[in-house]
């Protein structure tokens, strides 16, 4: 009996510690997120422009490949394929950054772990925040693009922050878990890099999962994927004009995933916190 309560207490403690570290270091986290952003872009030859050029270029490639190459990419509803693509791929850029970048975040900032006393749980938060800033800029650019092409924002756009926050929380839990595991072993980040490519192709980022709608089971399975949930959540706001509460099952599944990930990250924290500085 006491074993069980001890077990839960361990998780509760890890959780409150996580919250406390964030609360007490909020300004530090914001500062480091800005510093991380600067570091990412001032290092590259194109500087800040790279933050926008890279995604634009990627979008162009996919659009070209799908529309021109595969002669697919039909309009989706009243929206041209390119806009539909943008609505889903912009959150994907953030997610892929978190999936791979989050995995290496603690390694990247190893000096914060091994040379000074720094709250470890906030490292993924500030690296992800740094990606979030770029994401928000891309969202604004997307809204403008839609407008320029004749699609003014609709009321459905007001729910976008909900999806953004869900996405951020979800991938923050992921980054904490993955960052700690890959701090122990690089093999893990190599594994995740290859898995990431699989996730991209399976999540309907560039092709519409409605095209498998005939196969009910397949579609249900696809919607259980949290990456798909976020991509299509963004599309709900931009092109599909649906409210988030119209898909309660998908939302519930996503939250269930989140809880699983959060527990995994607390588990990893309890298990690995003391070992990480010795390994890095």
């Amino acid at each position: 009996m006491s074993k069980i309560s001890e077990f839960f207490k361990g998780y509760a403690d890890a959780f409150t510690l996580n919250i406390r570290e964030h609360k007490e270091n909020m300004t530090q986290v914001l500062r480091l997120s800005v510093a991380d952003l600067k570091k990412t872009y001032t290092g590259s030859a194109l500087g800040w422009a790279w933050a926008v050029i890279k995604p634009v270029f990627t979008i162009f490639i996919y659009w070209f490949a799908v529309s021109i190459g595969l002669r697919s990419g039909n309009d989706i509803g009243e929206y041209p394929y390119i806009l539909w693509l943008i609505a889903g791929i912009v959150p994907w850029f953030f997610m892929t950054e978190c999936i791979t970048g989050g995995t290496v975040c603690i390694r990247k900032y190893s000096y914060l772990v091994t040379k000074m006393k720094y709250p470890l749980t906030t490292i993924p938060t500030f690296t992800n925040l740094s990606s979030l800033y770029v994401h928000l800029v891309l969202v604004v650019i997307s809204i403008i693009m839609f407008w320029v092409m004749g699609f003014a924002p609709t009321v459905y756009l007001v729910q976008l922050p909900i999806y953004t926050i869900l996405m951020f929380l979800f991938f923050n839990a992921w980054s904490l878990f993955a960052g700690m595991v890959s701090a122990i072993s690089k093999d893990f980040s190599n594994l995740i890099k290859s898995v990431n490519i699989g996730i991209f192709w399976l999540s309907g980022v560039i092709w519409n999962i409605e095209s498998v709608a005939d196969n009910k089971l397949l579609k249900v399975i696809m919607m259980l994927n949290p990456v798909t949930f976020i991509c299509y959540g963004y599309r709900n706001c931009f092109v599909d004009h649906k409210w988030f509460f119209e898909e309660p099952v998908e939302l519930g599944v996503f939250i269930a995933w989140y809880v699983v990930l959060a527990v995994m990250s607390l588990w990893a924290y309890k298990k690995l916190r003391k070992e990480i500085p010795d390994v890095l």
Binding site: T27, Q28, R31, L32, A35, K39, G43, Y111, L112, V113, T114, K115, M116, K117, Y118, V181, I184, S185, K186, D187, F188, A268, K271, L272, R273, K274, E275, P277, D278, V279
Partner: protein, 247 residues
Amino acid sequence: MKDTVIKFDNVTKKYKLYSSTRKRLLAIFFKGIKYKEKVAVDNMNFEIERGESVALFGKNGAGKSTVLKMITGVSFPTSGDITVKGRVSALLELKSGFDQEFTGRQNIYLKGHILGLSDSEIKALEETIIEYSELGDYIDQPVRTYSSGMKSRLGFAINVNIKPEILIVDEALSVGDNAFKQKCQKTVNEIIEKDNVTLLFVTHQTAVAEEFCKRGIVMKNGKIVFDGPVKEASQYYKTKYNPPKKK
């Protein structure tokens, strides 16, 4: 009245050694993966009082750095209790206590913030630190372009000037030139006298330690084998481990 700022209570630190990182990864998820243990600190007990200056001696691998890392709070004991009172400012095995991509100046701010200083407090210290480090124009260059001596200067300049309560220096001075060493020595003695700072110092140059410290602890295989006045400690260390060279 005793004013203990650092206390080790039966502290033991064991490192887990796996035959590969893959094994280490698997060990996270599965029980029963074999590993070897290295006892780096073996049931250590000691107390250090406010204002003391203590040198740690010992051969390579004796466990000195491990002790300092645990005091700093970056590494954790496997068992036992460590009590540390006061703000610790540490120069741990210099290599990379900095963000390599940031300039020296940005690193001053970073380090200050992490130690809990506000922007204005750091601004007030900025010029002193830069002047002290004698880095000149390099202060606005990324730290990765520094020589190891320059890194050690910057590290030292930051750590002694941000008003630490406990100052930890692990071999950071061995790369500094003589002029800088003397300057450091003067400052350290000053802050110990004036601000009652506690110093923990590791070096293999016993002469340097004798100038910095009053007390000396000799470690061997993670245990304390001598604890007393620094002169005696360094004598003990020299005769036990570095037999005097024959002329």
